[in-house]
Amino acid sequence: MARTVQAPLDEATVKSLQAGERVVMTGKIYAARDAAHKRLVAAMQRGEALPLPLAGQVIYYVGPAPAKPGSIIGPAGPTTSGRMDPYTLPLLERGVAGLIGKGSRSEEVKEALVRHRAVYFGAIGGASALLARQIRSSRILAYPDLLSEAVRELEVEEFPLIVINDCHGGDAYLAAREAYRSDGDGSQRSK
């Protein structure tokens, strides 16, 4: 069974996570995507207070669909993380310890994950209706004018994730692709 990791993340947990490992996350995480990242980093550059804590925290790249009446949140799967790469370093420098999204990160971000001891987790893109069931509460913290892109505090319970980039330089996407790539003679290179 996948082990449970608690958000926010402590340093021992961050160090213990290995690329390719499946985990479930429980605790408080923060939703922010493109437009919110742009505003957060601009606010940091101006030296303003931020609407969310950063040290040890986990940021989830998500812009949920509207909630059906009576439900906590609408479908809430990950968006493509690479678009957040240009804004990610200042957040890691301030102690953000976990990032959740889907898709590859830049070399710069991967190096910064090692340098600042942080982990990039992948959630399954397109499994959004099921993922929303693992969210126990949702509260808008900032930028409500951004609609689905507002910053939210989410309480998640057993939210399923895969460690993509760990703090030791491991990369689950690259390892997996190499394992199943074949050269055209019908045989796999390894595995």
Binding site: G74, G122, G125, A176, Y180
Partner: protein, 278 residues
């Protein structure tokens, strides 16, 4: 001449978009069930299983399969004998989009530079075609932009040839990697001009999975490319495997003696497409 009330069009298209957001097409689900058997990677198998479970759950709960319910792209074939009454047809289609997205995510900014959300997911992108007869056929594609962002167009010279085109498709898929949410449906347009090649690639995404291009040499290209893509190892969600794409659909267009344009339009593993006839 046949009269069609635009109010009927608005209601029907609105309902189609609402339904399509939570109900994925049967041909796609069938292809995923087959892929579940063919996938060698245990993680890949689990991902496909999860996406099938997600599709079933979304259908039952009538909630969107994915939070990105996309930009609405409408392909309208209008019989030349049709007369629209009760208002403008373009406005009716925009109203239909507004109606449908009242409960879906608003993912459209009115201006690409100012980036202010339009608040109702309009405008829908509308492609018109005048055809013979008195029918009206509307196909919808609610396109998520994770996959759209990884799509590409290139104006090659003819010397690049089929081999060069295949390499371009492979490079596109390889650099998209996990980002476009594989297993993908790959729409390819070849020929035409800068404006039409992209549209051909997008129209290729409307084709149900399981068919092939009626031209044998194009069908052969589709089969070869699918095989080559699935050798890349990317797999479901980029977590490794032999099912990176479910289908490659190629549409070809007449072009100029000086050019060999190509467009590759990727669809994620949540093809929200539907068609109605009035």
């Amino acid at each position: 001449m046949r009269k069609i009330d635009v109010g009927d069009v608005r209601r029907s298209v609105g309902e189609l978009l609402r339904h399509s957001a939570h109900s994925l097409p049967e041909d796609y689900l069938e292809a995923m069930r087959t892929a579940r058997q063919e996938e060698l990677s245990p993680t890949g198998q689990d991902v496909i299983e999860l996406l099938l479970d997600n599709a079933a759950y979304a259908e039952t709960e009538t909630i969107p399969t994915c939070q990105d319910t996309g930009m609405a792209i409408l392909f309208v074939e209008v019989g030349q004998e049709v007369h629209f009454s009760g208002g403008g047809i373009e406005a009716a289609l925009q109203d239909a989009t507004r109606d449908a997205y009242a409960d879906l995510r608003k993912s459209v900014v009115s201006d690409p530079l100012l980036r202010v959300n339009s608040g109702d997911n309009t405008p829908a992108l509308i492609h018109w075609e005048i055809v013979a007869g008195d029918g009206l056929r509307i196909s919808t594609l609610q396109k998520g932009f994770g996959a759209e962002l990884m799509s590409r167009v290139q104006m090659f010279p003819p010397a690049v040839g089929e081999e060069g085109l295949q390499q371009f498709v492979l490079d596109t898929i390889e650099s998209a990697g996990p980002n476009a949410c594989p297993p993908l449906i790959v729409g390819v347009g070849i020929g035409g001009s800068l404006d039409t090649v992209g549209l051909a690639a997008k129209k290729a995404l409307l084709r149900p999975i399981g068919g092939q291009n009626p031209e044998p040499h194009v069908a052969k290209l589709e089969a070869e490319m699918l095989e080559a893509i699935n050798r890349l190892g990317i797999g479901p969600q980029g977590l490794g495997g032999v099912v990176t794409a479910l289908a490659v659909h190629v549409e070809v267009l007449a072009t100029h003696i000086a050019a060999l344009p190509i467009a590759v339009n990727l669809n994620c593993s949540a093809p929200r497409r539907a068609t109605l006839e009035l």
